[in-house]
Amino acid sequence: MTILISLIPFLPLFGFIILGLGCRSIPKRVASFLGPGTIISSFILSIIALSDYLASGIPHPTSFHLAPWLSFGGFSAGFDFLIDPLSILMMLIITGVGFIIHVYSIGYMSHDEGFNRFFAYMNLFIFFMLILVMGANYVVMFIGWEGVGLCSYLLIGFWFKNQQFNNAAKKAFIMNRIGDLGFLLGIFLIFTNFKSFNYVNVFDLAKTMAPGSGTMIAITLLLFIGAVGKSAQIPLYTWLPDAMAGPTPVSALIHAATMVTAGVYMVARSSVLYVLAPATMEVIGLASLATMFLAAAIAIFQNDIKKVLAYSTISQLGYMFLALSVGAFTGAMFHLMTHAFFKALLFLGAGSVIHAMEGEQDIRKMGGLKNALPKTYWTFLVGTLAIAGLPPLSGFFSKDEILAHVFSAGQSMWIITVAVTMMTAFYMFRLLFLTFYGNYRGNNHPQSRLHESPSVMTVPLMVLAFLAAICGFLNIPELMGGKGILKEFLAPVFADAVKLSQVQHLLVPERREWFNIVLVIFLVLLMAFRAYRRFGLRDAGHEMRDAGSKSVFIRLAEKKFYVDEMYDTVFVKPVLKLSEGLHRFVEIKFIDRIVDGTGNTIIKFSNIIRYIQAGNVGVYLFFMIIGIILILFFNIIL
């Protein structure tokens, strides 16, 4: 069994090595088999792992010790894997969605000369992502944590001729690094308190500790900083929109479905620690609310199809963290899953659109594509409905669960959340209508050349659309007579957390819950309708007309609230100035001058005292007599 489990991550690694070494020698068709092939096989293995887990009488988590790694002073952090529902779920998502996207990429990247390199990177990413979720201790998780960061760097800057893209990649890596420092500190704090890195030992010890203790809050906050960096929450979210520079499949896989959700996974994984730190939960709640709202607000005013989706991703991640903050861990994971499906679907759809438009990404230049790209349109529509949260699509169920929890946790938070849901619906439908409805506005690219993508791209779309449509039924709440399969599946993971949870849920009467659901659906539909009224029927010229009357808020939102600019002036520029200044003034003008100065002073001194050697006997005699007198004086008179 250990072999099979360990094969799950190492098959992609194997693929990476083959593709990486033989980068230029391997023909494309081989690569296009090898790349997805490794993923599908590890997907199958994950299913085996799942079945094995379920089969084993009373399901219990199993951990495998693969190899020793760091060992010092009796402590050790080895390559250990933990197989429990949480990791199995993540593995399935990663490999499943990963496989679909790989297949899609075969078509999408077909014309790129870096084809093999692309698949090598993608495989490497899958490897690290699996390491991240399968690790049985925080250090192994950190390996994956940093590794996926590296892969996202490599893939964002995939077309490295363009320095803009490279900057985006660099930005992503560095911002992640900032988070990672927090994460690392968290790990150290854990180690110093629990004398171990292993989840099991740590949580067992943690359970015994008093809730709300300072160290616990510190640990969780530090870990959360890591999550903020990885999952693009305020204040470290600005890298994600830029990350759209990468090829669209990358955005779908890394920056929507999997990597960015690592933070959510990590918090869920350490749920035991988090429930013991209510203060941290509060912080997470506030941060996520702010992120949700801000991102949604920005998304409404974006015109780049991928940017809209990027901001929507940020805001959806906010949903998940909100769920975590109110202790709805299952809800968070559920939304993570559904979001993985429909956001991947949306991105791939967008990719197909871009592919058809031959690189055009500005939705103002699109419109009326639904005739040209029917498959893309329908799948995209499914995705939109799903994310907007309309029944019976997956998004409805996951959002509903979160909303329910939020409502029971606090009315005010609920109201904001609903508002964000409405905004989500609005910008998604805006995107949909601007892209596929109205009449074609592309000026530099004739409508005649539009063409539906090849089936290697559209089939994945359909698969994802199907999943996005139905996977909500995995977890139908009791309210609707479902029995929450996923909830039961994940229950053992979160059992302790739920037991220890500090969040007090006020009991909500069923009728009220039904009311909320209906209300939300109604509001969403309303938004969709408004979006249709504003964007669905329009033609190009009209779009630009009401550019005049814009409130301040809108202007700010269009400029993304100048956050990037602020960071640039507050952090980037000062650092560069400092670097310059330190070198010019401190290094050369001060420290080095002291060093050289010592030498120069000695030489000057030498130049002075050598004139005592006047060359004149009289002077010599004089000095000698002085010396003699002094010596005799000090030794005899004194």
Partner: protein, 482 residues
């Protein structure tokens, strides 16, 4: 015995090399010597692990009535550093084959002499012998840098020599003073020196002397100003020797001599002296961000990285010190790798100015990959050698004082910033007139880099052996401190 051979063989070879006039022979003789040395050190390693960490001691009463004895041995620390030395010297000599060297027989004889000195420093168990070898390395280093160096090399190298030499003289006084504070009969043997009976005040002075001497060698901020110029002006082999090995002498000296002898000072001052390297980390990282010359850039990064190591060494707990040992090895490997890459780049483009470079990755994917992996090593990505050491050091510092760790941890961010910046400017983007005709690495050029990459990944993925060596060595030191 092996230890003695390790030291004597290169000495003899370097002397004989002076008289070899045929350049090709000189080159090959030098390389073979280096490889044989490497082989011997491997043999020593095997022996070390087979016979329960016996210290391979060699002892000869050199100046009996002055308490000086030629005592060499191999504990974990020495073994680790010796392996590093022999490995890197082979790499350095081999990588120097790609370019033409004037009076190469002298050149290689100096390098081999340097190796002898380094091995002596790392294996000496006698204070005075340690000092003698310590100075012995200075001569070849100086001559290599000053004879085969770049512009205004004379001034820079003289500064380098005078600066480091004054530091060492301080250490000499300290060692002699220490000698008379050892239990009777006085001896320079490290065990005697450890068992000194200094009073607190004397301890402080001894500590300062050692600290300054080692800090200049490493170099630790603010004693570092000789270093960037020297790295820039020295020939590549010289920069590699300086950055890869000579800087380690300082850190090794801290761990082997300074800390066991004067740790009470570190305890009493409560981490005051860790602040120097910590400041250096941030300071050098910040400066590195805006450096235009690749060699100067590497020089500053090495100040930052070694600052971290020095901090770890002085944190006085086993994790940090063990991490420091590992990180020394990793840094040696990485910096040599970086210098090799810069050497190749300059050989093709005749410039090390980042402003003029760019888009090399398009022309030379192999070089790009090697550069990227070594870069990852030095930004301490997990599964590369950089991570293992830095993780332990930071963990140890964290146990020492969390704020120090927070400061030192900034390297994680800064290293990413400057490394990626330079990588982007040099390798990525579109080619320009300078890099238009850039050719990818030849097989011969690949060999040293591949060897380095193997080490980078080996230490990163399976550090077990290295960690055990480090742990054995550090264990004794910590045992003394406790």
């Amino acid at each position: 015995m092996l230890t003695l051979i390790l030291i004597v063989l290169p000495l003899l070879v370097s002397i004989s090399l002076f008289f070899v006039r045929n350049e090709r022979w000189a080159r090959n003789l030098a390389l073979t010597t280096a490889l044989v040395e490497f082989g011997i050190s491997i043999a020593a390693l095997v022996q070390y692990f087979l016979y329960c960490h016996c210290q391979l001691l060699f002892r000869f009463e050199w100046l009996a009535n002055y308490g000086i004895s030629l005592k060499f041995g191999m504990d974990g620390l020495s073994m680790l550093m010796t392996l590093l030395t022999t490995f890197l010297v082979s790499i350095i000599i081999f990588s120097s084959f790609t370019q033409k060297v004037a009076r190469s027989s002298t050149f290689y004889s100096l390098i081999i002499l340097m190796q002898a000195g380094l091995v002596g420093v790392f294996t000496a168990f006698d204070g005075m012998v340690f000092y003698i070898f310590w100075e012995l390395t200075l001569i070849p280093a100086y001559f290599i840098a000053a004879y085969w160096g770049g512009e205004n090399r004379i001034r820079i190298t003289l500064k380098f020599f005078a600066y480091t030499f004054s530091g060492s003289l301080l250490m000499l006084v300290a060692i002699i003073f220490l000698y008379f504070r050892t239990p009777l009969p006085h001896s320079f043997d490290h065990i005697w020196l450890y068992a000194n009976n200094l009073n607190p005040a004397e301890q402080v002075w001894i500590f300062l002397a050692f600290f300054i001497a080692f800090a200049i060698k490493v170099p630790v901020f603010p004693f570092h100003t000789w270093q960037p110029d020297t790295y820039v002006t020295a020939p590549y082999s010289g920069s590699m020797l300086l950055g890869g090995l000579m800087s380690k002498m300082g850190l090794f000296g801290m761990i082997r001599w300074m800390i066991p002898i004067t740790y009470p000072v570190l305890n009493r001052t409560d981490g005051l002296f860790i602040i120097f390297p910590l400041v250096g980390i941030v300071y050098a990282s910040l400066i590195a961000i805006r450096q235009d010359d690749l060699k100067r850039f590497v020089a500053y990064t090495s100040i930052a990285h070694l600052g971290l190591v020095a901090a770890g060494a002085m944190a006085l707990n086993s994790q940090a010190m063990q991490g420091a040992m590992i990180q020394m090895v990793s840094h040696g490997i990485n910096i040599v790798g970086l210098f090799i890459i810069i050497q190749y780049i300059e050989a093709r483009t005749k410039t090390t100015s980042i402003r003029e470079l760019g888009g090399i990755a398009l022309k030379a994917p192999r070089l790009a990959v090697c550069f990227m992996i070594i870069l990852l090593g030095s930004v301490a990505l997990p599964l590369t050698n950089g991570f293992v050491g830095e993780f332990l050091i930071l963990l140890g510092l964290f146990k020492y004082y969390w704020l120090y760790e927070a400061d030192a941890g900034l390297t994680i961010i800064f290293s990413a910033v400057y490394m990626l910046r330079k990588y982007q400017r040099v390798m990525l983007g579109n080619t320009n007139t300078v890099t238009e005709s850039f050719t990818d690495l030849s097989f011969k050029e690949m060999i040293p880099l591949v060897a380095i990459l193997i080490m980078v990944l080996w230490i990163g993925i399976a550090p077990g052996m290295f960690m055990q060596l480090a742990e054995n060595g550090v264990g004794q030191i910590i045992g003394i401190i406790r």
